[in-house]
Amino acid sequence: MIRGRGVEKRYGRKRVLHGIDISVPRGGFAVVTGPNGSGKTTLLRLLAGLALPTRGDLLVDADRARIGYLAHEPLVYRELTAVENLDLYGRLYRIPERRERIGMLLERFSLWDARAERVATYSRGMTQRLALCRTLLHEPDLLVLDEPYSALDEDGAALLDRELEALAGHQTVVVATHDAERVAALQSSRLALA
């Protein structure tokens, strides 16, 4: 599913990633760890197809439409409501019966009551839950999650634990996190960036 050898990424003169080897089979659950500035986000952007490696080979065997990317930013419009944001993505991803899917995800992530409120009024935790809804909306084959537990309260984190448990083994998941122990039971491989 994902195979990378000697992956390097530079921004100008700054080398962000150097000599990264990564291999995640279909259905695998890879955890990426490392201190701040070690290149976790850059690696995940490469996997999501938002950036290209400067050097090395990286093969991600998933169509753009089948990748779900959770970034540091929620990738939703502040002035739109949760439903409007998800409906826009649902249209662009050509999701059949998107209204039912949106309703189900909003219920599952406890955002149903706030569905008609603008995202600008959401707390950080609610925005992160909405970002998770957006990431899972099109039932991606490859999930690329950058610090998914960030800003979530205990209920939200427990909810995400259950989601990841359900996904593990069925979908390929790559998670970058500072809290590797939280997903240690699910991981099939770990990549530690220096």
């Binding site: 753009r64 939703v76 002035e79 050509r94």
Partner: protein, 212 residues
Amino acid sequence: MTYVADVLALTRKDLRVELRGRDTLPAMLLFVLSTLVVFHFAIPDDAGDNAAYGLLWVAIVFTALLGLARAWVPEQEHGVLDGLVLAPCDRSAIWLGKTLATLVFLLAAQAVALPAFVLFFEPLDATAIAGVLLADIGICAVGSLLSAMAAASRARELLLPLLVLPLSIPLIVGGVGAAVSAEGERFLLFLVLYDAVFAVLSWASFEYVVTE
């Protein structure tokens, strides 16, 4: 059909965001009206018609710049552009949706500015108005692309006018020509040609602006 549906969904989203945030259109309206008022008092009475048409174009171009400067701000907040780029739609649909939304804002500003121009300065005939409309299309098409390029830079406020103004010169020439020349139709034809060439170039190159 899905391409058209994507474009319409993206345009509708931009209009809705503006309707809620009211960040762009009120600023454009205030700017164009106050500019025309200042010009009204600044131009001597004997300056002639042509000077007034020239100033109309100064007001139009800078009003468009104001709109373009804010065009990608909603996408920069919360990193939405990454989400749109990842979606499986044709990436040019993102540019076209933004171009149409910016065009709507510019037309709304001109719905107020053109009557104000007629009130303060000179009447506008059908050729002059057609020139304005055709130039609007060109400004928005090129401007949406250049604005996306500038948005990726730290110096976007400086970069955008530097990119847009040189490419607007043919539009100003065509627009003013349509208003003052006895052969205004030739200038309209020139504007149609400019719009067609630059719209196709912008449409084709947008993908390379938003991806590596």
